[in-house]
Symmetry: C2
Subunit: 624 residues, 2 copies
Amino acid sequence: MSASPSVGPSASTIDAVKEKARRLSILSMMATTAAGSGHPTSCMSAAELVAGIFFHAMKFDVANPNSGDSDRFVLSKGHAAPVLYAALAEAGVFPISRLMTLRQLTSELEGHPTPLIHGVDAATGSLGQGMSVAAGLAIGARLDKSPTRVYVLLGDGEMAEGEIWEAAEFAGHYKLDNLTVIADVNALGQSEPTMYQHDMEIYRRKFESEGFSTEVVDGHDVAAILAALDRAKAIRGKPQAIVARTIKGHGASFCAGKEHWHGKAFSKDELAAAIKEIGGAPVVVPPDPGKSYVRTSLPKPPDFPALAAPEYDPAKPVATREAYGFALRRLGAVNPHVVALSGDVKNSTFSELFGDAFPDHFFQGYIAEQNMVSAAVGLAARGKVPFADTFACFLSRAYDNVRMAAISRANINLCGSHCGVSIGEDGPSQMALEDIAMFRAIHGSAVLYPSDAVSAERLTEAMARRPGINYLRTSRPKTAILYSKDEKFPLPGFKVPRQSAQDRVTVIGAGITVHEALKAADELKSAGTAIRVVDLYCVKPIDGEALAEQIAATGGRLVTVEDHWPEGGVGEAVLGALAEAGVAPSKYRMLAVRNMPHSGKPDELVDAFGISARHIVAAVREIA
Amino acid sequence: MSASPSVGPSASTIDAVKEKARRLSILSMMATTAAGSGHPTSCMSAAELVAGIFFHAMKFDVANPNSGDSDRFVLSKGHAAPVLYAALAEAGVFPISRLMTLRQLTSELEGHPTPLIHGVDAATGSLGQGMSVAAGLAIGARLDKSPTRVYVLLGDGEMAEGEIWEAAEFAGHYKLDNLTVIADVNALGQSEPTMYQHDMEIYRRKFESEGFSTEVVDGHDVAAILAALDRAKAIRGKPQAIVARTIKGHGASFCAGKEHWHGKAFSKDELAAAIKEIGGAPVVVPPDPGKSYVRTSLPKPPDFPALAAPEYDPAKPVATREAYGFALRRLGAVNPHVVALSGDVKNSTFSELFGDAFPDHFFQGYIAEQNMVSAAVGLAARGKVPFADTFACFLSRAYDNVRMAAISRANINLCGSHCGVSIGEDGPSQMALEDIAMFRAIHGSAVLYPSDAVSAERLTEAMARRPGINYLRTSRPKTAILYSKDEKFPLPGFKVPRQSAQDRVTVIGAGITVHEALKAADELKSAGTAIRVVDLYCVKPIDGEALAEQIAATGGRLVTVEDHWPEGGVGEAVLGALAEAGVAPSKYRMLAVRNMPHSGKPDELVDAFGISARHIVAAVREIA
């Protein structure tokens, strides 16, 4: 029984948590020494905090810690993984013998946490992301009207990351009173003391100015920690920050508060000295039977009824970005798990169509892309189907978050609008020309690039069904409707909107370059040359063999054309897929943006930067 | 003459700045209406602030605003470009007639600022980066013992970006009293009101908690603005923040403080109404003669004496990351322009070797990669040769900053250590597997990937000489010395450490996979198959024709092997370069990391994830 906040935790509770803290600290040291690497001193600074969170504050289902109304814990300072693993083991999630398999190829207990461990919702280890994940979990719990509380442990080193403050302002703005942040301020970074060292008041003020209830505690005083956790639980209308003054390597005088101990496992002698100094009863770990406790039941996007066919007037051009908004709104009507976030551009990306229809399921992410993407990871961990959008170029700001989302095995959907030079006058800072390369190099991703509104809607629907990281690249200009409303767009797949038995060259485009390729086909046809036009709406994955058949039908002659840099884009994706299929084009021209773009009118730029119909015609003539 | 701070600016000064503000506002409206797009209301909120900065606070050489002791201005809210352009024109940097060419393909005045405009040091338009650039300019000025002051104008929308607070903590930590931040708080984002709207106290407190001197002013009260700028100039030991309450669209009642006016140029009627309401004498703009004022004198990396040859015992393996540190230290001894920054990992990336030798030229960037990279852009704009480092995977956090650095035509050097699965036990969150894709897709970049300490040193030296964005990918494990100390490593280029007339297959590796390829060559040789091993130390640019010759010598049979995802990495780079050269391999196998990695021992992982000598041998046997 927890004592009421006014009375404070009982002496027996405090003693029990103290003992847990002692065990967590010792087990962390033992595990890292057994592994021969790791971060014992980072665990030792957090042992009392983690013990207080796990063995006093949190209520969770040991058999299913990542589900239902269980409270959640995010270890943002992921390098302290062993102390989390020790807490999970002590709680009974898996046997403590597993701890001694830390960092082995055959163990689910990796150097930094991943969701393959029961009790972990998202991978951490790239610092500064955990609080955003926790905020996503917290808004997800609120949507579910669940009593779940979310705890997140930050390190002070990572509090230099701007994303921490994006997450703090987001949590403050949405008044996430089911979120408790605990900051482990041990004053030592990896390479030297942190910026603010033990100036606790700076951290407290920073949280306070973001709308948190705040307090400073001694992070090794269990009674103080438990009382603070109790008080946090009682706060309404605000997230809470407990800023804890700690000592890195606490408990072992040879390293406590000393530099040059980051990320160093103890020798056996050091381990023995530290355990002796910490004292108490021996911590006995039985041999591990070798049974893996890897978590296989990861969230999957829930099924939902097929959407009605898109309805467009074939004569009326519509931007793919707008079709994304229509599709999101259709999704919202049949799939209550769908949530959307936007980086203060919902009126440009058109997610406002969803937000206006389902205001409770829409979250304004403001201009803070990193937090938006990691919050989506938290939402996905709670079984939501998040769609997050901004201009495609600004998703580059969240690339690390997308990378970590893949390691988190998260199911998130990202839409980047305003790709390429075809945006026109705003100039290069607003043009995504690297996003295909960026998203292709994410493990397990799909990279979708619709050329018309029908495909944009269908691909948006496909994203909501597909596990993993899905990226939709939408364009600013209105484009002609190319497909009938009943057309299917499987993944992988492509369309062949123009073909004949006489085709001399295959031209592969995507997005706006499909329209340029069709214009080129018209012009070439009137001059007597037939070409095949492929719409590669799914840039990843690619069925290389199916694509090879198309190219073989035109004698192996190929042109690719894309509104993207040459590196890592459509052209290289095609070359790579063909190579995997064991073939190569006989003659090939790659059209892509090769010079730094400039402001100008969209059509002017598409031509000036080498990807217009005129350039396609010229490339075809070179190899036809 | 400026009045002293205690007396305050004179009435005539105030009137003159008011008139400038009126003209800036009107010219911004006129330019955007002429362009048919742009952000007039964002300019109108800032007109008095920009006028105060340019026509009262700043001292700069109109003929050379980006050089010497000139004060600098960074427009972090880059979409307000027209108000900056108007200020530069009114100051005499170029004729006001140029303003009417805004956003045209033939004009240097793009939709968002780039350094092709005199008076602009870095491209802005991806929000939240300008303060980091300004901090870089400010530390550069301090290094130069220059009286240069740096002014940066922030928008309130962008203050949601975490990087703003990374920059603020950096500026506070380094006590950059030559930096004045002016925040234009107009309470309206693009899609809706900002998070804090007109709660000025929140912004003030946030800056104050980062160690700034702060004050809140009415951003349309010229007398108050000038007095605040004067007070800021007098502050010692702290950066200063002037938080200005403004109205978006100030001066034109049809849009002032109203939603849905973001990024909309006025119609001619709206323009006339706004000008009438603002009043005063007509602003007459003569026809533009069409002469471009594009800035061609961009900073270049200064020359320096050749470094002494690297000295390594050929029998003693050395990690490429350590060789980077040695090279940096050698550079520092002969090139006083070299500065280094590290994201709290200098003891892992080895830039501490430089920092220990040249403490004045080393800046601890803490765990805040975005700020670190944009600060490097600011340093480069001041003619410094910045090297910034962190684990390669964490550079993904600064990808938008790198993208903007390329648009800024910045000369910056980035080193990412701990690439790939070969790092071992720390697990996937610490493994860069997308960095080659990421950096290849940066315009004008070089992507360098040394396999041994000699090449690492020589490539580091090459970076300090090469304009543009240079990326060095270093590895964690110690690797054998492959090259003699006098070996040259031109860009582009590759080495062929193993070859014979009997070679059946070319194996292209880079970094650690070169060593795996050499092991495979030994094994295959003893089984009677000779292979050629190519060390592609320069992954971008690639001389496709030279590489094609090597592959032709082995009958077109090719294996590529890389510690990176298949997408956008070495394999695709090679395929792309060969395609540009008009050739394709006859038989090809791509070895890359295809499954999500895991913790484990480095050698174990290199093998388990398919890129070890064993896999190379198998791939060679398939196609030999």
